[in-house]
């Protein structure tokens, strides 16, 4: 595990970019501090030997519950109006976003 104190202003700015969350200059120092604190706290996991332990990604794995796939058929349709009903901006039955292609 990496050194938790390695979280810096640059790390936070990089994460903000990855997470697509705008962050103001004044929010950076507390976030650095909190993330360092939390990452230090979770470093205790290092003391556990997991070299022969499988990862558990869902409890269903342990409970022996299978997750069968549904047959791939259409179960609804013709609900364009419903799908667009909450969109901030709509034109010609489509979502509108700022121009992405020159």
């Amino acid at each position: 595990m990496s050194d938790a104190s390695a979280v810096t202003k640059e790390t936070v700015l990089k994460i903000a970019k990855l997470a697509r969350i705008e962050i103001s200059e004044k929010d950076i120092p507390p976030l650095v501090q909190e993330m360092c604190g939390i990452l230090r706290w979770i470093e205790c996991l290092n003391r556990v030997d997991t070299s022969s332990t499988p990862p558990l990604s869902t409890p269903l794995q342990e409970l022996n519950i299978s997750q069968p796939l549904r047959i791939d058929t259409v179960t609804d349709g013709n609900i364009v109006g419903k799908i667009l009903s909450n969109a901030p901006e709509v034109a010609l039955d489509m979502f509108v976003v700022p121009k992405v292609v020159e």
């Binding site: 705008e22 604190g37 939390i38 706290w41 990862p55 409890p59 342990e62 409970l63 700022p98």
Partner: protein
């Protein structure tokens, strides 16, 4: 008259409605008045009196024609992250503050189809991230309980399902849904003196529930008694083709399983849940619970769950990681709030919308989750946490394989805290979930039962944990404990309402 009607249990109400000694509309009007009366508690994001009256009138028609549904006419509330068609569903976030779902969650649909009367949608921590409702965009809900020694100090109801528990404890709904990711049903139930059950992961459908951490989220119920919780859980549980993680496991009759007979049941008391420094209040209550179960014929055994102290660190890697992925959908394009001036590019639009739409705790968790999933850290954090999660689940598996039927622990390390002076350090706040997170990671069913009062006179719960899909047995032993404790809840006259 009105007050006595509010204190009836769901089962009592059903019996009176069936005999037509009460009308569903009368019940509904009484509850609507109570919803209005407790507005200072900020338990609801949206009140739905018109829907409620319509539901109640429909129920009355069915009672009249002899075709009533199993929960017909019972006043109910949903945590505001169950998608309700045509009714605002915010997850207590600014970014969803205008979201009117065009569809219904499976759990709320099933309850609707069983006849419940919808009183409203309840307040919660934003995106269910918190233990207090303080992170809600709509401000905190207040606990209807106060300490007699400090009767004007408003307390949190717990969280994240705190509006749901405040509403039920204050008689504005007879029961309510909650969701539990790391303790969000059990902790607020404990703080508000209610029963709260989180069923097995996969027991009920997650379809239409605003997702926080998909490998942990599970819907459950809060009620004022174990039998009422059993009644509602019955009509929430079951496989749903729309949720591939919902299990194809039969749902037995929960009420029939409740006999109160626990003779010969082996109860495990995990020694790791009694760390040095555990509050004497909690310790005393736990010992009392142990003694009461023993008096009723249960066999008490000390057990060990050796990886317990790693559960919270594991949780605070996995839950934020899953959240950072789940919350990527809030981008200001297809639904939800978009900032007024989105900027010139699509990235600007995303960044401004998400920067202004999410609150501080949600951002903190998305940042943490993004970090532990980012290139170079995935194995060290995320994968490592999933491996330790396996060990935690194995701890429980071994104990139950050795013949232990149930595990008894405290629900929370303390009682409700002040709204004005909550813990400031995120980690201190996270410690609230220390006793509830391990069973969540293992996906096991667990219930909080009110067990007594702290020295300050505030309710505290005990938690019972069962093997997977053993909700029947869990409800039965919870009933035995409830019966033995004889906990006295609030009455409509003793609810705390802050002076305006």
């Amino acid at each position: 008259m009105p007050n006595s009607l509010l204190t009836l249990s769901a089962l009592e109400l059903l019996s009176l409605l069936k005999k037509r000694e009460l009308s569903a509309l009368d019940v509904c009007e009484n509850y609507i008045s109570q919803v209005e009366k407790i507005r200072p508690l900020n338990a609801f994001v949206t009140e739905t009196p018109d829907v409620a009256r319509k539901n109640a009138e429909d129920a009355d028609k069915r009672y009249k024609s002899g075709s009533s549904l199993p929960l017909d006419g019972l006043p109910f509330a949903h945590k505001d992250l169950f998608a309700t068609e045509g009714i605002l569903t915010t997850s207590s976030s600014k970014i969803l503050s205008n979201f009117i779902p065009p569809y219904e969650s499976t759990v709320s649909q099933k309850l609707k189809d069983s006849g419940v009367v919808l009183m409203g949608k309840t307040n919660m921590d934003e995106f269910a991230m918190g233990s207090s409702t303080i992170t809600s965009h709509y401000g905190p809900s207040l606990n209807p309980w106060v300490s007699p020694s400090s009767p004007t100090t408003a307390l949190v109801p717990g969280g994240s399902s705190g509006g749901s528990t405040a509403a039920v404890a204050a008689f504005a709904a007879i029961a309510s849904t909650g969701t539990d990711t790391g303790g969000s049903i059990r902790q607020p139930a404990s703080y508000c003196g209610l029963v709260g059950i989180k069923p097995t992961y996969g027991r009920s459908s997650r379809y239409g529930i605003v997702a926080f951490a998909s490998s942990l989220d599970q819907a459950g119920v809060h009620a004022r008694s174990v039998k009422d919780a059993a009644l509602f859980l019955q009509y929430m549980a079951g496989h749903d083709p729309k949720d591939s993680t919902s299990a194809k496991v039969d749902v037995p009759s929960y009420l029939e399983a409740i006999t109160g007979d626990i003779k010969g049941k082996r109860i495990g008391i995990p020694k790791e849940y009694r760390p040095e420094g555990l509050s004497p209040d909690i310790s005393r209550l736990w010992d009392k619970g142990i003694a009461l179960l023993q008096e009723r014929g249960a066999l008490i055994e000390e057990i060990s769950l050796p990886h317990t102290d790693l559960a919270l660190p594991v949780y605070y890697i996995l839950a934020p990681a899953e959240a950072s992925s789940n919350l990527a959908r809030y981008d200001g394009v297809r639904f939800g709030v978009r900032v007024e001036h989105p900027g010139d590019t699509l990235n600007d639009l995303y960044e401004h919308t998400r920067g202004s739409g999410f609150g501080a705790e949600v951002k903190r968790r998305i940042f943490l989750g993004t970090y532990v999933l980012s290139s170079g850290f995935y194995d060290a954090y995320f994968l490592k946490a999933q491996k330790v999660r396996f060990l935690i689940a194995e701890d429980f598996k071994k104990v139950f394989q050795n013949g232990i039927d149930f595990i008894l622990t405290p629900t929370t390390p303390s009682g409700a805290f002040s709204v004005e002076n909550p813990p400031q350090d995120p980690i201190e706040m996270y410690l609230n979930d220390v006793f509830t997170v391990p069973s969540s990671l293992a996906g096991l069913p667990a219930i909080s039962v009110p067990a007594g009062l702290s020295e300050k006179g505030l309710p505290l719960g005990l938690q019972l944990i069962a093997p997977a899909f053993q909700e029947s047995g869990l409800l039965n032993i919870a009933y035995a404990l409830e019966h033995a404790v004889q906990f006295k809840g609030l009455t409509p006259e003793t609810i705390f309402l802050p002076q305006a």
